[in-house]
Every structure is written in C-alpha cells, then in structure tokens.
Subunit: 205 residues, 2 copies
C-alpha cells in the first residue's frame, strides 16, 4: 500500500465503512460480507471489495470479513489506531458543542484546547477547558505539537486563522466557517457548513 496512490474518494469511504463495522461489533456480530456491509452503507458490494483490496487481502472466500480484523486494519490505515490531539478555534456555540462532543473519544480524537480572540471570553471556562487567547495560539499549538484543528470562527476571520494554524504546524483543518480556505498542498481541509449541505438537497425538493 502506498498512500500516494490511493484515490481520495476511496480514502473518504473508509471512515464510513469503519463506522458501520463498529456498529456491527456493538451488536455482537463477528463477521460480515461485502454485500452486507454495502447494504448497510448504501454502496455496491463490488465497490466495497475493490476499495478494501487496495490495502491488502483482508477477507476470506466463502466467509467474508472478520469484523474485528477489518476494523483493526481500517483503523491502522486511517491512522486512528491512536489518539490525535485536536484544538478548537472559536468559542461560539459550535466551538462549545465540539468541545463537549462525546463522539471523539472512541474514534481517535481528543480536544486539548480552545481559543478565541474576544478578550472578554479569554480565561472563562467551557466545561473543563479554559478559553485561551488566539494571540498565543501559534506558540501553544507548536509546543503541544497538535496537527489537527477545528475552525468555528466567523467566515471573515477564517482565512487569517487558517494561515496561523498552518504556521503553527497544523496539517488538517475541519472548517465550519462558510468559506473555501486557501492552504498549502500539504494541508488537508474538510468542510462542514450546514447551509451548504442543506443547499445540496433543496435542488431536489
């Protein structure tokens, strides 16, 4: 397996497979097939097999895939067989929700700090976190070695903050601001913008 050669579109489906497998494991299931997994996630069995086979031969003819083994392989491939520290930038409602989010722990992530540029917010608490000043953010992120950030600042501030994050060594940004970010090629961005996602559906209504 060579990371450079795997299409983004396949990498993008792996977390979906992983999520479905973990739900199957929760139900006590031990094995699954490309057919069953495909039904679960709405993808053809052929595609599931093709995607998985990019990384090795993880199944057995006749019996399918061991859920535990495939889960372990996917977690390793996606590098979520460890815990990644993550920072939140923007202490609004969304930043608040992400700081408290219970769904990170068993999926490989851990929020370690939250930043905001409003002086009146700095120093106050969100759950266990004390909101820190954006001015000290770059140094803090560098010293902690954090590589992943979630960005929940207003669109007008997002590009500036993204630039600072990159300076600080961040290589993956989950961007909640409704704006396309301009970042170097070696930095990944995923976009979560509720309005944009809603607008992808109204077309069909």
């Amino acid at each position: 397996m060579n990371a450079e050669k795997i299409p983004d579109i396949i990498v993008g489906r792996l977390p979906v497979y992983l999520r479905a497998l973990q739900r199957m494991a929760d139900k006590g299931l031990k094995t699954t097939s490309s057919q069953e997994l495909g039904d679960q996630v709405g993808i053809s069995a052929a595609q599931i097999r093709k995607d998985i086979s990019q990384f090795g031969e993880f199944g057995k003819q006749g019996t399918g895939y061991s859920i535990e083994f495939l889960t372990e392989r996917l977690r390793s491939i996606l590098k979520v067989d460890r815990i990644w520290d993550v920072v939140v930038v923007g202490a609004g409602d969304m930043g608040h929700a992400l700081s408290n989010y219970q769904g990170f722990a068993d999926r490989g992530f851990h929020v370690v700090a939250i930043f905001d540029n409003k002086k009146e917010k700095v120093g106050s608490k969100i759950g266990e976190f004390t909101i820190e000043d954006t001015e000290t953010m770059v140094e803090r992120i560098k010293s902690m070695g954090v590589k992943i950030a979630m960005l929940t600042v207003p669109a007008t501030a997002a590009q500036d903050v993204a630039k600072k994050l990159v300076q600080a060594g961040v290589r993956a940004i989950l961007n909640y601001a409704p704006i396309t970010l301009n970042v170097p090629n070696n930095v990944k961005v995923q976009y979560i913008d509720p309005s944009t996602h809603l607008q992808r559906m109204t077309f069909y209504l």
Copy 2:
C-alpha cells in the same frame, strides 16, 4: 434544464460557487470569470464553465459572469431564492448550536421548531424556542408542512427518528448522527459527522 439529468456531483458544487459569489458581492465586485471563481474555490475554470452551462448561458464572452445575475440564477436553480422552514431534532449541544446559528437566514433557511424525547427537557427554552416532545413531532411537522430536518440525536436513536421524519413528510435530512440512514429514494440525506470528517484527513498525516 431537467433536474433528473443533472449529476449529483455538479449539484453539490453549486452551493460552493454560490457561497463564493456572495462573498465577492460583499466585497463590492460586479463581475467575475470562470478563472477567478475557480481559483477562489479550488476548481478548474473549465469545470466551472461546464457546470454552469448545464443550466443555461449565464456568461458573456470577453467579460465573464455578472455576479448578481449568476447569484440569482444559482439561487433559483438550488431553490434557495425562498426561505425553507427547518426543524431540529435533538436538543443537545449540537441542536442548541444549530437553533442559534446565524448563518441560515441569508442562505435560505429558517429554524421553526426543536424537538427532544427527554421529558425533562420538553417545555424548556432554547433561545426563542420551546423544546417540543418528539411524540408530537410527526403531527407538528405535518401541520407546518416542513420538508427539511436536522438530526442531532444519538446514533442509537437516529434511524427511528429518521423513519418518523419521513412519515411526517420530510424530504431532506441533515444528519449529524454518526450512522448511515436508511431512507426511501425520494428522501435526501447529507451527512455531517465530525469524527468521520477528521478520519478522512488523518490518513494523510
């Protein structure tokens, strides 16, 4: 233009173009080109032109596109030249953040109600909203004629709630729960799962 013939992948890019155009308009710009718009959103000029041309001839050779006109056309195509009522199901932190979200108003959406199944939450306030009981949800959505829902309940409850939403006439679901939903073909789902999105980036770290 025939909605049935436009690939999903193109429809998915239109809200991104629209968002960029609205930012250009905010800056006071009057016209743009496929090249400039493409640079802005990280898509080739040829693809921008091809996508837009699916719906008509909205540009002018030599001068490009009128930002105001193209914005108006895209809003019409995406059916966000009107305001859609939206309900939120799940009054946790994420439901709270979405209920207060300021980014819906000028993008075509308006939250009208929020539901939760926890009796102790029902009746309490989130901003201007009174949390309503999930038990009465189907009737309430029907009577309001709401077609769009945002789902922020736990994964274990999401499929059941989705089924109820479909019964109530909802045709578009923005799903924050980390699970693939099973819905009829005429119902659209968009997925927003922070962990899944983060896992799409760790592969490259």
